[in-house]
Symmetry: C2
Subunit: 385 residues, 2 copies
């Protein structure tokens, strides 16, 4: 770092604060925190752990020397230990317990300091961890929410002055991390509310809450493949569970009829789309706007023979074209009182056969391209997380 002027340090500190605060995606934020702290201190490597109760969860590992020698995947495969209990044996654990920076200038003496340190990774990757700083990340409320470890730092990082600067930047990082975790929790709470209340709409129906969860996940996969825009896919994931919300207004004798509906009954059944649209209309938020469009148009068909409006092709909103495929696929592979479950490959064939008829060809293509992920989802019973 040399001996920079304090104005420059002040500007860099503010800059780091702004850069981290602008990152709203939690995983990208964690990466950025490590990168920025490595840049600021000139450390060779850095890692980040998040605290969950009694455990530290490993989140990020970066090392500019190793990354020049080996592919990141190779490094990560060797490094990744998912979580460990917080205690004084590990450096990161001790950092949480003590609530202060642990600074080790000479890692050859780490055992003398009472820590156990796994050198097998260094040996395997041909690397030597010479010095280390473990920095507690405290929420603005004073709770320790994570640990940042930096390795192989220049000597000046270990001076009083150096540690002060590390503390200051870590405080910025911790504010962003704390906000990131809070936003993440709020989003999860939002999703949980939507799932439960969407479940309500299907409570009287033949289908179950699992249908909603699978269908929304498949919709998200299709959206990802189609647009490569995480914000869009996330919106689809959150909005699609409400697609059948209008069914609450369908009379029992139609909704629960164990036989084929008469034409007249089917006309009433169809109104679940427009009623869903009504329930969700005039929303201020993007999420509910998308949910409305999906509820209203997920029974439209690409060739214009669907309902409620008989929209055709691109006139059907993309979100609804995506959910249409996911909804039909899940219905086909599910067991119902009146039908056996189809084998997934048969359902896939059917979806493909409806390209340009019921379904948008591009959405069908995205569905086929995501098929491996989708099958993986159906093979795992608990898809909640």
């Amino acid at each position: 770092m040399g001996k920079p002027k304090y104005q420059d340090i002040l500007d860099r500190l503010v800059g780091i604060g702004l850069l981290l605060a602008s990152e709203k995606n939690l995983h990208k934020l964690l990466e950025k925190i490590v990168e920025e702290e490595m840049n600021f201190t000139n450390a060779e490597g850095g890692s980040l752990y998040i605290r969950r109760g009694k455990y530290l969860i490993f989140m990020v590992f970066r090392n500019r020397i190793l990354e020049n020698k080996l592919p990141r995947d190779t490094i990560l495969k060797r490094i990744k230990k998912s979580k460990f209990e917080i205690n004084e044996k590990s450096i990161a654990g001790a950092c949480v317990k003590r609530g202060e920076i642990i600074s080790i200038r000479d890692m050859s003496r780490v055992e003398e300091l009472g820590f156990s340190y796994d050198r097998s990774i260094d040996r395997e990757l041909g690397y030597e961890t010479k010095s280390l700083l473990a920095i507690p990340l405290k929420s603005p409320e004073g709770e320790i929410i994570g640990v940042l470890q930096l390795i192989n730092l220049p000597q000046e990082s270990f001076t009083e002055e150096g540690l002060r600067l590390v503390r200051a930047t870590a405080a910025q990082a911790a504010i962003s991390l704390s906000n990131g975790l809070l936003l993440d929790e709020l989003k999860k709470a939002q999703l949980d509310t939507i799932y439960r209340l969407a479940k309500v709409a299907e409570f009287k129906d033949r289908e179950t809450g699992d249908h909603i969860k699978r269908m929304s996940r498949v919709s998200m996969y299709i959206a990802e493949t189609l647009k490569h825009d995480p914000d869009f896919s996330e919106l689809i994931l959150y909005a699609s569970p409400m697609h059948d919300i209008g069914k609450v207004a369908i009379p029992d004798h139609i909704l629960l009829k164990p036989a084929k509906l008469t034409e007249e009954e089917f006309e009433i059944m169809k109104t679940h789309t427009t009623i869903g649209g009504e329930i969700l209309e005039n929303a201020d938020t993007e999420l509910l706007k998308v949910a409305r469009v999906i509820a209203l148009y997920h029974h439209e068909k690409f060739d214009g023979t669907g309902y409620p409006e008989g929209l055709k092709g691109e006139n059907i909103p993309t979100e609804a074209r995506i959910v249409a495929v996911a909804d039909v696929f899940d219905a086909l592979v599910s067991k119902r009182p009146y039908k056996a479950p189809w084998p997934p490959d048969e359902a896939l064939k059917y979806i493909v056969s409806q390209k340009g008829k019921h379904f948008d060809p591009e959405v069908v293509k995205a569905f086929v391209d995501s098929y491996e992920k989708i099958i993986d989802l159906y093979e795992h019973s608990d898809i909640r997380s």
Copy 2:
């Protein structure tokens, strides 16, 4: 500010960042931003505006000299101008337009600089605005989200050095403000989702979405009076709309029956509480946990004669005891196909008469103490905001 050491400035800057980041209530945050910036710069006064599209909304006014002479209410009554359009005429507006600090060392020359400035407030309150800084608050994404004005500052605030520090602290304030606004929006989106989906539960019922909104607002008022804990009242506001969610599972011929239910039908009707509890069970979030307790127990009575479990007194969760009062009150004052609306004062009398029978005496007391606010709510049609 004198000539402090840069370490001290760094520490203060980090301190301000942490202090502001720890404030999760938007209105308190706005106050704190002004206070902290006044302290940091030794300004006599400060005010804060939030940007909404083409407008600046006045949010905070502080002045340590005036507050020593006059009650804050008197000052605020004189000051408060709700919003104004952003243009180059006002100093704050110009600050947004230009996106940079506007610094005026000598306010007697403010008109020469092309600004119009209302001196009538100063005259009436016996005050003189001598100097002013208008500081744009930029989100980490670079958008101007507010303006902070500081008045009557020491000369060193106007030096290059002083402005650099003001910019640095304003950056911290802006990060917190940006996060605060985002959290506020997410909470509103959450509430909007809950309202719409709770509306679903009442879609087939005789009641309307307005019942839910009023009932949840009244529940919040009671909670405020009872506990003086904003987090608790907010939880009640958000959770209570889901109280009748279990009604979706009640067969149409019972739920929609225009006459008195038979004993057998009533038994089925009662299951809307346990079904609501089922829909909301196993939640991770505090909000849904409270919602579950309310759905399950809002028909319990204080004397043990309620359902589904016949719980008595304190064994009924507080949240459910609160909602029970709000739910009955709203039902009484509402028009229904089978009954005229009661005059509010009659409904109040009935609630009081059920003290210790249907209702918890302490909740009834809190209801009576909040009655003025409640009546005010019923007199205003749009209670959405």
